[in-house]
């Protein structure tokens, strides 16, 4: 059956009409996007100031969301390397989903930065024309650009066969576009043979791992270089960013995969199921490592020559609830227990709940890290509230809405579902 645009639109509308769940889902996403559009329009008409809860804390919700998304994406890149670089075939089953999630999270993370910058249009121009090699932001931008290009190529190679199949079922105009996308004219050439070679995919995997991990470590350095911010400064955060990215990436992958299968009411292959439980154990291990690092940070912070003030903000200050309830409880302690239990009992529901807990806890931890870090040394008397402004919440909601919409479309068109690994691989 040939597909064309009108038919696709009609079938999508029919699907929406038939499925109340899909209708509700798309309505929620549309509302989130509308609210974000309203907040952005209001900020353009009035002032960018409405997107910040305090001018004394210039990096807040958008930067925390940026770190959350980008670190999760980089964490996915690191987990993906277990299959693409270190040769674990069982991880290769999920490569397509991991690469797609990694790409989209990083792109939407970058969108947060674009919305936060005063002049985002100048960034690519001057970052290319006059980069500052002493600036961590400059390095981070360059490394993430390389990483994005590499992941796009990786995803293109991985989905090329699916797009070719889609082209065969499409109408003339869509077919032409898809054929251009998959470089059909090259079929049978030496370049095509090279693209099909698994060694190329491995090389791309290595490039993605190296650029992704260094970009992530550089993201940690952006904060860790700020000597005048006591909470951020020092060699600890580049390392903690790597560890926390791995657990947030793993939690992201587990949550999204299990939810997708449950919503679509599809059966999970036994191999995939066993991989999900293995990842759950791995997540518990990395969360424990992260918690050990946090304890080290607290102890070293309390006895630092600069004074324990910034750490006390987390322990007994205005961020104590965010720290104890979300960072310690939801992000570290409870999920580790639930994950160990779920992996033992092979209970996917438990894995899903703990992954969601880790994601919520990680988001709050990022927010608390960014905001609390800016209190010393200039806001000695503290602020009345550290809650984000309503407009910030709208914009962040819209970013998550757009991400979920793109994921829904990717799930529909890119065949991200896990398949049995090919015997030859």
């Amino acid at each position: 059956m040939k597909l064309n645009f009108k038919q696709t639109l009609q079938s999508t509308l029919d699907a929406v009409e038939r499925s109340p769940r899909l209708f509700i889902w798309l309505s929620i996403l549309a509302s989130l996007l509308l609210l974000a559009g309203y907040a952005l329009l209001a900020s353009l008409i009035t002032s960018m100031e409405i997107l910040e809860f305090s001018i004394k804390i210039p990096w807040a919700t958008l930067i925390a969301t940026y770190i959350f998304l980008v670190a999760s994406g980089s964490g996915l890149c690191i987990v993906n390397a277990l299959g693409s670089v270190f040769g674990l075939h069982r991880y290769e089953m999920m490569t397509k989903r991991m690469a797609f999630l990694s790409l989209t999270t990083i792109i939407f993370g970058m969108l947060c930065i674009v919305l936060h910058l005063g002049h985002p249009e100048r960034m690519p121009i001057y970052n290319a024309l006059s980069p500052n090699f002493r600036s961590a932001i400059s390095w981070m931008g360059a490394l993430y650009t390389v990483y994005l290009v590499v992941v796009v190529v990786e995803l293109w190679i991985l989905t090329r066969a699916d797009l070719t199949n889609l082209a065969k079922r499409s109408s003339e105009s869509a077919k032409t576009i898809l054929n251009l996308l998959t470089l059909e004219k090259l079929r049978g050439s030496r370049l095509d043979a090279m693209l099909e070679d698994p060694k190329i995919l491995r090389l791309i995997g290595i490039l993605a791992f190296v650029s992704g991990a260094s970009a992530l470590s550089m993201l940690g350095s952006v904060f860790a270089h700020s000597e005048s911010r006591v909470l951020w400064y020092g060699p600890y955060y580049p390392i903690y960013f790597l560890v926390s990215a791995v657990f947030s990436g793993l939690a992201f992958l587990l949550a999204v995969t299990i939810i997708t299968y449950r919503v679509k009411k599809e059966v999970i292959l036994p191999k995939v199921k066993s991989l999900l439980f293995e990842m759950a154990q791995l997540l518990a291990l990395v969360l424990t490592a992260g918690f050990v690092l946090t304890v080290y940070r607290l102890i070293s912070g309390l006895f630092s020559p600069a004074g324990g003030g910034p750490v006390l903000l987390l322990l007994i200050g205005p961020f104590s609830m965010a720290f104890w309830v979300f960072e310690v409880g939801l992000m570290s302690f409870l999920p580790v227990l639930i994950l160990i239990w779920s992996a033992k009992k092979e209970h996917l529901g438990g894995v899903l709940v703990s992954s969601l807990m880790v994601l919520i806890g990680t988001y709050v931890m990022r927010y608390e890290f960014v905001v609390a870090g800016q209190i010393y040394p200039n806001i000695k008397q503290g602020l009345p509230s550290y809650w984000p402004a309503i407009m910030e919440i709208y914009v962040v909601g819209g970013i998550f809405g757009a991400f979920l919409l793109v994921y829904t479309l990717g799930e529909k068109f890119l065949a991200l579902k896990e398949k049995e690994p090919h015997p030859s691989s």
């Binding site: 001018i55 002493r134 470590s217 270089h225 390392i239």
Partner: protein, 277 residues
Amino acid sequence: MAGVPIYTMLGSADLSIAGSQKYGKLVDTGRCIGCKRCMSACKRWNNLRVERDELISDKETDLSGNNFVVVNLRIDSSNRTSGTYIHWACQHCIQPACVGVCPVTAITKLPDGPVVINEKKCIGCRYCFQACPFKVPRFDFGKRVTRKCHMCYNRTPLLNYMKPACVAACPVGALAFDYKYEIIKEAKRRVEQRGGTSYLMGLAEAGGTDMLTILPTDPHKLGMVVSPQKVINHNLDKIRVTAAGIAGASVIAGGMYVYAEMTKEKEQDTDSDETEF
């Protein structure tokens, strides 16, 4: 980077610009009467908006995209009866942390002293604010760039023998502008003359600044943002922090390799079991 000596890149003092061609600004808080004429003159010269009431004496004001200079009354925490008007602006560090972190090199330390933001290049990321030990550069929500005092580099003596707008407007000689070595000499003379608890801020803070402030007492006691007495964001320090990240990434890669090697066997066993069936 071309033309920058290696010792400057690594964060050491550039001796070639330490000669008589450097300028400095002196703030003598002992003479300041808090009239805020410096604020007014700065606003006039730089075309900055005047907010309601902010030029009234004793009214607390904060630095912003429209306030390059502020004058605020500070009370000594050890002697609550004594207040001091403090003229506060960019300290023009000799080795500015903001210059080192700006991702697009929009901030420059001019050879004669001023630290200047190129507003046509600034992307508005506010990293300079995070890096600045004095928390000076502020975001202008109207122009969507970061702005701060530029020591009137566009009217300095080299160009047309004019002092910065604030210095020219001061009616009591609380502000002075001259060659850096002259300014240091004069500042030390005044501190010596006053004796007691007088403190000269700017000789050691952030590795030295081109704006010197004579304070009646220790800046901590006046509730000021105080920088450590060392170069902030030294390049060697940045290299140390970045190296920790690279080492961390290598350890993670090593751990993944070990994990892969340990579980590869299990994978092969499972595969061969399935083939037998």
